[in-house]
Subunit: 197 residues, 2 copies
DNA sequence: CGATATCTTGAGCATTTTCAATAGTAGTGG
DNA sequence: CCACTACTATTGAAAATGCTCAAGATATCG
């Protein structure tokens, strides 16, 4: 095991790389994305402290991970880690739990991408990100957004313009407030309403 | 363990149901979907012989599974199966392998939903389904499509009309041929071209 | 402080959806 | 066996959501 740090905009691993390591994040945010040959990009998720990367048993990474902020993480050599697992059977159980939870998250995101309109997608993202941060940073109406507008767009299958316009409208309607490096949620109920629940 | 059969259009389990069982499919096709309260539906995948359902350790199913054709499967009681696993440690490893492979599939589908245009989505679906069947039915240019047009649309985040029009155009262009309960692929290269590879 | 990135905003446009009408297909009962 | 019903698929035309293009504003960083 080995502590390490990567700087913003630096890549931890790329799709196709040999998956010789495995990571857990201790601070910072990463973007996980799949890139098409023509430059189109789909961000499949963002990784935050407590998340694991490289849990799959695939010999190669299917996605690229790069840092949005300064990121601290622990690196484990894959082979060594697998050895450790042999001697701790319910460790594998835990890994499977994490992986199948991620699958559930992925399936929910498919609904967002396949069946939600633009405004719903942005609302879904903001609320989910907010709740996710709540569990590690505690409750607060202020939501840091370390990712840029283009990143949000690439996560939601939209363009940067659509994301920008949607957030701008919500600011005019006092649903959210612009704060440095994020937004403050003024009317969460209104956002949930948009999702039809 | 218990063999069973379900008839077309019948539901194996619904989202929110207690996940007391676990299944492996021996014949037939199922659709796995997530339903929004307003009726919109996202099909997250189709299950075919050899696939497992309910591998997640979640106490409830996140999705609904219903039969497109007559389906035969083996049901395992969850608790009993978990017991079995305790005594066969590399069984859990296998489960994790399957789950993390499904996660990779899900992430690839996110790219389709988020960043592909309509024609690319249909091409991606046809080719992937074709290759998947090839592994269990052997190579053949004829692709059975047990799912309806609406199912394909709900899988690809499109409308039934867009799917229908796309397939109709490909038939006119002799890229595919209409056959009962499926299509025959006449020009696979052309479909792959559409995906830009 | 100038240069480069990112973001915002507007206007026109295109892809895909919506709406509507028709055609095909399967199952049911006279 | 055929009419009747219900469901699914096809096709066209109009509409709309979100995209593209372009310009300006704001922020970031040596």
């Amino acid at each position: 095991m080995h502590h390490m740090t990567i700087a913003p905009k630096h890549t931890l691993f790329s799709q196709g790389d040999e998956a010789i390591s495995l990571y857990t994040i201790t601070s910072g945010t990463l973007r996980l994305h799949y890139d098409l040959p023509d430059g189109r990009r789909q961000i499949v998720g963002f990784a935050i402290p407590g998340d694991f990367l490289g849990l799959s048993l695939d010999p190669r990474f299917g996605i690229t991970a790069d840092a949005l902020t300064e990121v601290s993480l622990c690196r484990f050599e894959r082979a060594r880690f697998m050895n450790l697992i042999e001697r701790h059977p319910n460790m594998m159980r835990k890994m499977h739990e994490v992986a199948s939870h991620e699958l559930a998250i992925a399936q929910e995101h498919m609904v967002v991408l396949g069946r939600r309109r633009a405004e719903e997608r942005v609302a879904s993202f903001l609320l989910k990100w907010w709740h996710r941060l709540k569990r590690i940073q505690g409750a607060s109406p202020t939501v840091p957004l370390p990712m840029g507008r283009q990143d949000i767009a690439d996560h939601l299958g939209l363009t940067i313009e659509t994301v920008s316009r949607t957030l701008a409208r919500w600011m005019r309607e006092r649903i959210i407030l612009d704060v440095p490096d994020g937004v403050r949620i003024l009317d969460a109920a209104r956002l949930e309403e948009l999702l039809g629940n």
